[in-house]
Amino acid sequence: MAPEVPVVALRHISKTFGGSKALDDVDLVIAPGEVHGLLGENGSGKSTMIKILNGFHAPDPGGALEVGGRAVALPLVPGQFRDLGLSFVHQDLGLVPELSVLENLRVGELIAQRGAWISWRRERRRALETFARYDLDLDPGAPVSELTATERALLAIVRAVEDIRLAQATHGTEHGLLILDEPTVFLPREGVDRLFRIIREIVASGYASVLFVSHDLDEVCEVTNRVTVLRDGRLQGTVDTAGTSESELVEMIIGRRLESLGLEASELTGHGVDVSVKGLSGGVVHDLEFDIRRGEIVGVTGLMGSGFDDVPYYLFGARSARAGLLTAFGMAFDLTAMTPHRAVSNGFVLLPADRQRDASVPSLPIGENVMLAVLHRYRTPWGLRTRPMRRRAQELLHGFDVRPADPQLSYESLSGGNQQKALLAKWLQTEPRAIFLHEPTQGVDVGARAQIFKMLGEAARGGACVLVASSDNEQLAAICDRVLVLARGRLAAEISGGEVTKERIGEQVYNSVTLRESTTEVAG
């Protein structure tokens, strides 16, 4: 398909992190004038590939990089990508909201500029010319915080293309590559169309090729010419988009579909519903409705940007929902006015994904972290009973197999798995009625994972309702009785019983995207 010299060619790229291969002999070749998709699940190696291109990671020896036909030594020095005519737009866009459109557009040049003063009038004129070229109607003086999400994404893309043009002018080269890393996740449908239009213009005008990294199959099929698919760090192939069906791509992404294991249907169907959620809206989540039975572990998943990861925080009151009613254990809670305090007082607990910030004070002792939630039990008119408290903390750490089981060590000295076990000890000692978790085994080693699954299973058998939000399909398959799949904030599929397998979940996650409806654009 591409007889010309490739814009960027990465060959035989491997990357090992502490013994495990994040990338294993992967090739990625991008032709001039094409939009090239890079697809794969979380952990497939997409991000590692991008981070090798921007010089953040050094690949293992043996890989080769060519830019515009010339060999470039790996690893790249951070920042070197600019001179090579590469430019990145990451999901967070890298804009400063308080500054104006113009200041954001010119920030790279302004930092490098040596002149004594800046002619804002000239800069403004140049900015307007640039915007006109891309058919963009932006006020250079407006603060970026007042733009819509779409306008911000477009601004970031235009800035990246301008950086490429600047590098081309400086070095007298003609090749360029714009790398868009999940740019559409937070955009409404119209925004995505707009973004695709600009991508096509950029490619058509010959400024640069585009590498489009995404989870979203529909979008990849719509905008790319060719697609490279990674799975578990290995190259699954590079194919022409037009000649490949979506289901073929899904199979490449998640692997061969296994036969259904035919497990017995959940024995929980007879149990009463303890937790029920109605009309939950907030962020992208829209009008979500589901139940959790007594003793049931329910998973919530979806692509990035589908809002699945917000659900536990809304139920717990850690974030305010726009609307929603939670009925639990015979009580009704208005989710717009829910607070963590109310949640905890009613026997709900939350284990957030960010353990260092949201779940612990890392520099304080493990014992104090674990006992924070039950201080009231050790209160007497004469003060805290510190000795029984310390003894209890010790017992808990042993009971939950936290190693080392020393309550006086600082929390940060524990490994990821032990940190999470300590947090389970903190909360399960309160005998919660509902447990909400977000990515409970992130950064947790395999052994501790199994222990955590067992602890959650025991808590559920003890009668607790458990909700796990996770993008780890294998984990969901291992512990969940039922899995809800969200797409663009709506419930797209529900998987239960013997269907709850890693492959089935993955398939639903990717297929459900097609059900997406457009959402309205919101500024700010």
């Binding site: 963590p340 939350l350 612990s360 304080l364 924070l372 939630a373 020393d406 006086q408």
Partner: protein, 373 residues
């Protein structure tokens, strides 16, 4: 990322004397002290330990008691250098009696610092309380008891205002208290016509500096009582743990069900209340009030809190540490003054102590950070 500690039984117990030995414990308290937008931070060092030998002389214990040791050395040096003036009962009586107001004010400041907020208005708040008492009692003939209540009430109200602005509107405490403190100072100058006011009821003076017990002015014992009370609250009540967690991890505190805003607001209010009490003590010891001198307490109070956070419970603002820091600083200053050094030494001492305390702890934390588990 390397974790900040090594495993082993260690001495972060509530009973300081029971601390286990630690070969390489490093202090990491009190960093990032005075930057706008940055909450006051005091970090625990990670306990590291071996049991048995060298238990008493362990780095951990040395760290806890270093300030006390330096204090004793300072007293010893000046006592040898100036036996006729420094090493006298009357001198120590002066040292202990004169600093009770600063101690009380520092204890008040410790509360918002612990929950992660600055209160730069605390010295003006003391001035407000003492001046209100003087003006009401001397100029307006109000009884001393109602005047005292008014003084403390005004200070408490300022605490309510500070906390409300910080918590409800979400303004940085640094900015809020800089503003309200200046306003309070303006009010002080206004109601006093910028004059000293003297002649408050002698009863108040006799209950503060007029009478003594065991040779010390009564005011000294108020300071001790407040120190012990706060020590008890910080160490032995759920509230103390909650204050600590709110200051060190707002997000985890909130998600653990603590009412973070209420606790932060409360610490501003109680801090203001304590500043008001300090104002009563100040009015008593001056037998009146002056519009300017209270401002000189602001920096020493911060110095005492941050220096105190390097002792006894390294890494945490703690009342006993603050107590020691206050008296360590004044012992040094008094000695230098008796040696004939000019008054400016006070500024050097307090300013220097604040910077050195924060610098020491920052360096220690950086060293601690390179250690991996």
């Amino acid at each position: 990322m390397a974790a900040d500690s090594e495993p082993g039984p260690a001495g972060d117990t509530t009973d300081a004397a029971a601390a286990a030995a630690a070969p390489a414990a490093l202090a990491a308290p009190a960093a990032g002290a005075v930057a706008v937008g940055q909450p006051p931070v005091a970090r625990d060092r990670s306990p590291v330990a071996t049991r048995g030998l060298g238990r008493l002389l362990s780095a951990n214990n040395v760290e806890r008691w270093a300030l006390v040791l330096v204090w004793i050395v300072v007293i010893a040096i000046f006592s040898i250098a100036e036996p006729s003036t420094y090493f006298q009962t009357s001198n120590f009586q002066t040292i202990f009696g004169s600093q009770a107001v600063l101690l009380m004010l520092s204890l008040g400041l410790m509360l918002p610092l612990t929950t992660g907020d600055f209160d730069l208005s605390i010295a003006s708040n003391l001035a407000l309380s003492s001046m209100l008492i003087a003006v009401l009692n001397v100029n307006d003939g109000v009884g001393i008891i109602p005047a005292m209540l008014a003084g403390v009430g005004a200070s408490t109200f300022l605490g309510i205002l500070n906390g409300g602005l910080v918590v409800l509107i979400g303004i940085d405490s640094f900015i809020v208290t800089l503003g309200t403190g200046t306003v309070a100072l303006g009010i002080v100058q206004w109601i006093s016509n910028d004059n000293d006011i003297t002649g408050t009821a002698s009863g108040l003076t006799s209950w503060t500096v007029g009478n003594s017990f065991l040779g010390f002015d009564l005011i000294f014992f108020y300071g001790i009582a407040a120190t012990l009370l706060l020590f008890y609250i910080f160490e032995f009540t759920p509230l103390g743990r909650r204050l600590l967690f709110v200051g060190r991890g707002r997000s985890v505190s909130r998600l653990s069900g603590l009412r973070v805003n209420r606790i932060r607001w409360g610490s501003f209010i109680v801090g203001g209340f304590i500043a008001g009490i300090a104002g009563i003590m100040y009015a008593g010891s001056l037998q009146g009030a002056d519009p300017a001198s209270a401002q000189t307490f602001l920096l020493p109070a911060f110095a005492a809190c941050f220096l105190g956070a390097t002792a006894i419970r390294p890494g945490r603002f703690n009342p006993i540490g603050t107590f020691i820091a206050v008296y360590f600083l004044v012992s040094g200053i008094t000695g230098l003054q008796l040696l004939g050094v000019q008054n400016f030494v006070q500024q050097l001492f307090y300013g220097g102590a604040l910077v050195i305390a924060v610098a020491l702890s920052t360096v220690a934390r950086r060293r601690g950070g390179t250690r991996s588990a």
